[in-house]
């Protein structure tokens, strides 16, 4: 018999802490707003698009927008990408829900309650402010949004090109929020925080984004300013029709997502030869792989190892730019250890677009209001409550901690809304509801589960695109066509249902090994307990991914050993539970309760729940 001294070892895993199972749902954990991804994918699989849309909206507020342009931190996290090459097309499935949801979804949106007498001002109409409005209006708040531009949406409107995000989608989803009764003051730039404070609002939320594009102060920069553009300002001018043309040869400096939008927009304004100039090799690019792919599909050339040195002009007209040719030494861990200039190279250009980053700027906030700024001129904001150092003034989105993305702005908005609500009710901002969980068995019969447990080996579906010829004819031809019904039906089956958790009852286990033998990815081991380092060397299969937890059971009744599960690669096939003679394993659907403002409100505004 295997020895079974209890000895030193890990304590049993506390599965009552919602974080444990939440982490197993890699996509949901990675999503800043903790969208119930497997939940909505199952609804799509059942053809329940409207429910899928509403489940999304509960967390991320903008399913149609995000289904097209989300930064999708969920996809690199997706477990499917660890058991085979490509993650589930989570983001584009969100779009499927939005494309097919029935208009009747509007009937199920939260209704504005009778006014509670509290007035809240939101500065800027980007996704952060819009989320705050979305969360506070149903609680009876009187919400006013001040926006400098003539249209709401923030950078989603002014910078994300319409060939990625059509205006109708923005209009619809923003309209749903404003339609709950927000006062939207367009073309109304707030010039003074002091003045705004004087208007007697119960709370102020600053969602003004990070509006300043970074400069590149090099020789010749100001010799032909009409042909050197700041990326985000240029995109805004294009979006609002102030710029309609660009030269034939365009150089884009920088290789982040803004650069990708700049190069693709240039092609639509008449450029023929567009080069994106990158200082470093490809593995150091900031742009998401899919944005790079889309740009390269449009024949944009990405030139690596070129550091800008000077703008070259002749007779006051831009001719091109001079670059240092760089060489790098990279160590085993992929970090640059040395760099050298090995030469120089001139690239001709009619226009240059600088896309090297954004910064916050708050010229309109006076510095004597008890509202502290740090040495980088960034406001001091509490990362949990989003309150500034002046009670009643909150920040969120890019304005809070610098440029991020839409989904982070949304989550900031949710959290700020909770704080604003508690502030207005005179409650402690820090006394927030914790995350909660619900676990419910998925067992339907002997070997039947309430989810599609079989592993489908299908590969990731490819998003169909409009032909190159067609897409360049107009600025706003949406490039992605969306999944067809067949593609969506195949893609949903790739989801591993990571929210259907393996829940273990140690006292029932007779140590027959059936679960261990059947597990296709060798997640399970019965062994004597030990430290994590030790256990990881004694498991059925290599367990080198330390970002993924080990589940450790209580001591098993017969030998005192423990059941250990490496969560890393579990495909949630349920076979462990099917082969267990005593039902010691069960497959249980995990539902996360990530509280929003409405959950902090007193009854009758009960928490919204959408079943899956």
């Amino acid at each position: 018999m295997t020895s079974s001294s209890p000895g030193v070892g890990l304590p049993p895993t506390d599965i009552r802490n919602p974080d444990y199972f939440h982490k197993v749902v890699d996509c949901q954990w990675a999503c800043p707003a903790h969208t119930d991804v497997p939940g909505y994918i199952r609804l799509i699989a059942q053809g329940r698009y409207t429910d899928a849309y509403l489940l999304n909206r509960k967390s991320n507020v903008f399913p149609g927008i995000l289904g097209r342009v989300c930064d999708r931190p969920c996809e690199p996290a997706c477990r499917r990408g660890r058991v085979e090459e490509k993650p589930v097309a989570i983001c584009r499935l969100k779009r499927v829900a939005a494309d097919h949801a029935d208009e009747s979804y509007r009937d199920q949106l939260p209704k504005p309650a009778t006014k509670n007498g509290k007035r809240v001002a939101l500065v800027g109409a980007g996704p952060a402010s819009l989320t705050v409005a979305n969360d506070l209006l149903p609680l009876g708040y009187d919400v006013t949004i001040f926006e400098a531009l003539d249209v709401p949406g923030g950078l989603m409107r002014s910078n994300i090109p319409s060939f990625r995000l059509p205006a109708e989608v923005l209009d619809r989803e923003i309209g749903d929020i404003v339609g709950m009764g927000a006062h939207l003051r367009l073309g109304h730039r707030i010039e003074s925080m002091k003045a705004l404070l004087g208007e007697g609002y119960d709370a102020i939320f600053v969602g003004t984004g990070a509006p300043k594009g970074k400069e590149l102060k090099l020789a010749g920069r100001d010799d032909d300013p009409a042909h050197v553009h700041i990326g985000i300002a240029w995109l805004e001018s294009v979006a609002f029709g102030h710029i309609e043309k660009i030269g034939e040869k365009v150089l884009i400096i920088g290789v982040g997502n803004t650069a990708m939008d700049c190069c693709r927009t240039s092609l639509r304004l008449g450029a023929k030869d567009v080069k994106v100039m990158a200082r470093k090799p490809r593995q150091f690019f900031k742009a998401s792989p899919w944005e790079l792919e889309d740009a390269e599909e449009e024949r944009v050339e990405i030139v690596i190892n070129r550091a800008p040195r000077a703008f070259v002009t002749e007779g006051g007209r831009l001719k091109g730019m001079l670059f240092d040719v760089m060489e790098y030494e990279v160590d085993a861990r992929g970090r640059i250890t040395a760099e050298r200039v090995t030469g120089e190279q001139f690239y001709p250009a009619d226009d240059v677009i600088l896309a090297i980053g954004q910064e916050n700027a708050f010229p309109w906030i006076e510095r004597d209001l008890g509202l502290e700024f740090d040495k980088w001129e960034v406001p001091v904001v509490d990362p949990a409550t989003f309150q500034s150092t002046r009670p009643g003034v909150f920040f969120g989105g890019d304005a809070a901690f610098g440029p991020k993305n839409i989904i982070w702005s949304v989550e900031h908005g949710h959290q700020a809304a909770i704080s604003i609500h508690r502030h207005c009710q005179g409650e402690d901002l820090r006394d927030r509801l914790p995350d909660g969980q619900n676990l419910q068995t998925s067992k339907m019969g002997m070997h039947e589960w309430a989810y599609s447990n079989n592993y489908d080996p299908a590969e990731r579906r490819l998003m169909p695109h409009v032909s190159l010829k067609e897409r360049f004819q107009k600025l706003d031809v949406e490039v992605e066509l969306g999944f067809t019904a067949e593609q969506a039906a195949a893609e949903v089956e790739r989801c591993l249902n990571c929210d259907v958790q393996t829940v273990f009852a140690a006292k029932l286990c007779i140590e027959c090994d059936a679960c261990i033998d059947i597990c296709p990815v060798d997640c399970l081991t019965i062994t004597r307990n030990g430290t994590e380092d030790d256990l990881r060397t004694r498991l059925t299969a290599p367990a080198d991914n330390r970002t993924q937890a080990l589940f450790v059971s209580e001591a098993l009744p017969q030998t005192g050993r423990v059941m250990v599960k490496d969560e890393d690669l579990c495909v949630h096939c349920g076979l462990c539970a099917e082969r267990c003679p005593t039902a010691a394993w069960d497959m249980q659907k995990f539902t996360l309760h990530h509280p929003h403002a409405i959950d902090h409100a007193p009854a009758p505004a009960a928490p919204r729940r959408f079943g899956t």
């Binding site: 295997t2 090994d513 261990i516 296709p520 990815v521 290599p542 099917e578 003679p581 005593t582």
Partner: protein
């Protein structure tokens, strides 16, 4: 029974053996046995051992009779040969197959009913002729397939699921085989792969009849209180009498073995089995000592496990009968069938 088959998706870093196969390449069809059956665990141990031994799956021949246990060859090594014979008759068919082709690894899987009840005669004669094969007896004390009647290995006083008590003494296959002078006699437990896998590897390397009695609880008909073949009872009473570590041919024997208490035995292919006694045990190469130990320990209520008796160097069936040591199928036709004139000459010798 499950509705879905074990998916082909696998852990991306599964180790590969000398042939470049992963353990998944040794799997078979999805088991249709009851969930939790000990037999499935043994299947998995066989898969693991064949993988570790780097046996090309097509060089395995799976032999079995009838019973839940005898169904299990379908659940491992799909890419190998196999035959599911008549109840209790697997040893005869295995003998014939082996006679025709000595070049395969024969792995017999049988049950206590198949081997000790209906097939006892066949079984013991295969032992006598030292047929070169691994013989795994999946011992659950009942006829599982026919719904749990006592088999010939049921212990005196053991209780059936519905309460009746077994009145007849058991046939202990281990004692029986040691008394017959079988060349490799082991016992293990389906719930202890750490012991079972090396034993199967050693059995695969052994030339001659390598027998492993594996206590394999029948979760459906013989895992209750009062059973002496349940998971709980076996765990409580199993006692390692002889540790056996399998050492592959090229590997060094670890220094701690060389020190004394351990006894390395070299097999014909250069691999070794290192035997280590548990407290107060006996010399596992001494037949009388082994038999005496086993009878006493068993009478005292213990279930002795490990490699309990080992005799290398005894001729196997082919050596005894002086038959060709190449597969008949590869020999020239004139040699396999030398014609009626030669037959006549042979017959004349017996006139």
């Amino acid at each position: 029974m499950s509705y879905i088959a074990k998916p082909k998706v696998a852990h991306p870093q599964l180790p590969k053996n000398d042939l470049g196969f992963t353990v998944r390449d040794y799997e078979g069809a999805m088991s249709t046995l009851c969930a939790g059956c000990g037999h499935d665990s043994i299947t998995s141990a066989i898969i693991q051992a064949a993988f570790e031994q780097s046996i090309p799956p097509h060089r395995l021949a799976k032999m079995s009779g009838i019973g839940c246990s005898s169904k299990t060859p379908a659940y491992f090594a799909s890419a190998s040969h196999g035959i599911n014979t008549v109840h209790g008759r697997m040893p005869a068919v295995a003998t014939g197959a082996n006679a025709a082709n000595p070049d395969l690894y024969y792995v017999g899987v049988s049950g206590d009913g198949d081997s000790l009840s209906i097939g006892l005669g066949q079984f013991l004669h295969a032992v006598r002729r030292n047929l070169n094969m691994v013989y795994v007896l999946e011992n659950n004390g009942v006829y599982g397939l026919t719904k749990g009647q006592f088999s010939a290995s049921a212990d005196l006083g053991s209780k059936a699921k519905k309460g009746e008590t077994n009145q007849q003494p058991p046939i202990d296959p281990v004692q029986t085989l040691v008394s017959l002078g079988a060349t490799f006699v082991a016992r293990s437990f389906s719930g202890d792969k750490e012991q079972l896998v090396p034993l199967i590897r050693a059995a695969l390397a052994h030339r001659g009849f390598a027998f492993i009695d594996v206590i394999s609880p029948c979760v459906t008909f013989n895992d209750h209180e009062g059973s002496t073949k349940s998971y709980t009872f076996t765990r409580k009473h199993a006692h390692v009498a002889m540790y056996a570590d399998y050492v592959a041919p090229a590997k060094e024997i670890r220094a701690e073995y060389a020190a004394g208490a351990a006894m390395p035995v070299t097999l014909h292919d250069g691999s070794r089995i290192v035997l280590r006694k548990a407290d107060g045990a006996y010399d596992p190469t001494d037949q009388a000592a082994a038999f005496s130990y086993l009878t006493k320990a068993t009478a005292a209520g213990e279930i002795p496990t490990g490699l309990l008796y080992l005799k290398t160097g005894r001729p196997d069936m082919h050596e005894l009968a002086n038959t060709p040591d190449v597969p008949l199928a590869t020999m020239a036709w004139e040699k396999v069938c030398p014609g009626s004139a030669t037959l006549g000459k042979i017959q004349d010798r017996f006139r």
